[in-house]
């Protein structure tokens, strides 16, 4: 009997590892080893031609003294996150709330709202380049004559608006699922106590949705800090570096510049990871902290 359970244990251990092995191999190579190697590279000078040369913190020093990083990529990235995340979160929450009011055509709206998220980032960027061209449809409809994507004052906002537009549909569906989990009895109780619509939204919906809001904000923050595709396609970081973000700068240093600097780019990637980690933790404290008065 003993040997049989022992044998069973061995078979289970073997099978367990066999079952996870495809994922594990890919995870080890492309996540764990890659992460370790990225950290190592961040302490080296590496241009692909000669082997990496250890230079300690020099790469980090150069990143922190880099004009493009300090005066463009860093503030641009924070500006992007601080504008896009709150707007897309609030907008999608309001849309989900509106849809949850048992209005007619709910299914229809749900389908339509998800359409922009189905389209690829490249395609939607190509479409927006055309819509926001000087003679494009946007100027035709509004009667404006702004050269949206060639003007450093407007280009970044067009990209922000586009990304809010494309992600809100998905986030709205996440919120809608969360809303439908809130028991109706809670709303009914509030109605009996004389709460109006706005009060119900801010005193019931928002607090009850706190975990979902946390999730949506986290996903938004992580995604927004890494915005790349749209910038690559629409502006290449320009005009006048007004749309250069950290991820775009990493790409530029590691793959695009004539003088490739993979070490320095890795240092920036590590810095970005630390920033994202710090912001995620901070935001967790804020969202959970603000709920200390409420239940849950």
């Amino acid at each position: 009997m003993r040997t049989r359970t022992d044998r069973r244990k061995w078979v289970d251990a073997l099978n367990g590892y066999l079952f996870i092995s495809p994922w594990l191999i890919i995870f080890l190579i492309f996540s764990l080893i890659s992460l370790g190697y990225a950290v190592y590279l961040s302490f080296t000078e590496y241009n692909l031609l000669r082997p990496p040369r250890w230079w300690g913190l020099e790469g980090y020093r150069r990143v922190l003294e880099d004009e493009l990083f300090i005066s463009k990529a860093l503030p641009n990235t924070f500006k992007y996150v601080l504008i896009v995340v709150p707007i897309q979160t609030f907008l999608s929450l309001v849309l989900a709330f509106a849809m949850d009011q048992n209005l007619r055509f709910q299914r229809f709206f749900r389908t339509i709202f998800y359409l922009p998220s189905v389209t690829s980032s490249v395609v939607i960027s190509l479409i927006f380049i055309w819509i926001f061209a000087p003679q494009g449809i946007f100027n035709q409809i509004t009667g404006l004559t702004v050269n949206w994507l060639d003007d450093p004052r407007t280009a970044f906002y067009v990209i922000m608006g586009m990304n809010i537009f494309t992600t809100s549909g998905t986030l709205m569906l996440i919120f809608l699922a969360g809303l439908q989990d809130i028991p109706l009895a809670v709303y009914e109780a509030a109605e009996i106590d004389g709460a109006n619509g706005l009060q119900k939204f801010f005193y019931i919906t928002v607090p009850m949705l706190r975990p979902v809001i946390f999730f949506v904000v986290t996903v938004g923050v992580i995604g927004c800090f890494q915005v790349f595709d749209q910038i690559f396609v629409m502006t290449n970081g320009g005009p006048l570096d007004s749309t250069t973000t950290i991820t775009y700068l990493i790409y530029k240093w590691a793959f695009r510049d004539t003088r490739i600097q993979m070490g320095q780019a890795s240092a920036l990637a590590v810095i970005l990871t630390l920033i994202i980690l710090a912001v995620t933790l901070l935001q967790r404290r804020v969202i959970e902290g603000s709920g200390s008065g409420a239940e849950r």
Binding site: I26, F30, L115, I127, A133, I141, S266
Partner: protein, 308 residues
């Protein structure tokens, strides 16, 4: 009519009804406005893809007048790279999806059902890796797929072990890192944990081993979940940009998004053709989306509620 003549309570009631209705209309107007906005870019793209190249900024913007099929003829006939890009996209997306669904189901099943050493250690690593921003592993992953972490390989005595796959400009270089991912494994693990064991245990009693049970019982019962994961994966692979951009170098190897972006650089005056090409990139996903709509909604709902 009772309302007009009536008591204060009834007046309050009438007012509530009025505001209720007003609110409903306001909400409806808001939803309708956002719906119009959501459709607009795709609608305009469709309209102008049927207009001549010279009319790419010319009104009317609401209907394809004058109508032409030239742009579609260009991308399907004259411009021979385009069908190749479609094929490359299909090839990569289908293979990535097939592998990822299978591998995530296998790992998810093991994490939910089988006891093996260090299980919780690996699962915690998996959870952490879900939070890790992808850009940090970009450069090493590129080196591993391409020239190798160490140029010329790792020298162990007489043995020279390559540290890279040499798959630059090869579709398998795009496919390989996409074959499994943490989120998919996590999703399948959660699913199998919530699923009753009885069916599998009965099969195991009847003498099927783990593998037999997995392929004959477990995979079929998790069909819905597998389709959901497949759709998410396919959409991601089909629309993927940054990684294929780094790996694929020659125009014959491009996927559709890379190709369209490249085409714009080469022939920026032919914007109508780009719009027609965009329709080709969007249409397959759109069709899949309409056919499997409830699965998409499920998958998105799942991503949100699980974390909470």
């Amino acid at each position: 009519m009772a309302v007009t003549t009536s008591s204060p309570q009834a007046q309050v009631y009438a007012r509530t009804v009025f505001f209720d209705r007003l609110r409903k209309y306001l909400f409806f107007a808001m939803l309708a406005f956002w719906a119009a906005l959501s459709v607009a870019p795709l609608y305009f793209t469709l309209v102008f893809s049927f207009k001549p190249v010279a009319d790419v900024y010319t009104p009317p913007i609401w209907a394809p007048i004058p109508f032409t099929l030239d742009n579609y003829i260009t991308i399907l006939g004259t411009f021979q790279l385009f069908p190749r890009w479609v094929w490359n996209s299909v090839f990569i997306s289908v293979i990535v999806t097939a592998f990822r669904v299978l591998f995530c189901a296998m790992a998810g099943y093991a994490f939910a059902r089988i006891e093996f050493p260090l299980k919780s250690f690996w699962f915690n690593l998996l959870l952490i890796s879900m939070m890790m921003p992808g850009v940090v592993t970009l450069i090493p992953s590129f080196l591993i797929i391409g020239p190798g972490l160490i140029r010329g390989g790792l020298q162990l005595g007489d043995l020279r072990i390559p540290t890279g796959f040499g798959l630059i400009d090869n579709p398998w270089g795009v496919i390989l890192p996409g074959m499994a991912d943490a989120f998919g494994v996590f999703m399948m693990t959660q699913f199998y944990k919530s699923f009753p064991k009885e069916l599998e245990e009965a099969a195991m009693m009847d003498g099927s081993g783990r593998w037999g049970t997995f392929f004959r019982i477990v995979l079929p019962i998790s069909q819905t979940q597998l389709i959901t994961l497949a759709l998410l994966t396919f959409q991601g692979a089909w629309n993927n940009f940054m990684w294929p951009l780094l790996v694929l170098r020659s125009p014959e190897q491009f996927t559709l998004p890379i190709g369209l972006q490249w085409f714009r650089g080469e022939y920026y005056t032919l914007y109508s053709v780009i719009l027609a090409g965009s329709i080709f990139n969007t249409l397959p996903i759109l069709i899949i989306f309409f056919v499997f709509q409830q699965y998409f909604v499920r998958s998105i709902a799942a991503t949100g509620s699980k974390e909470g």
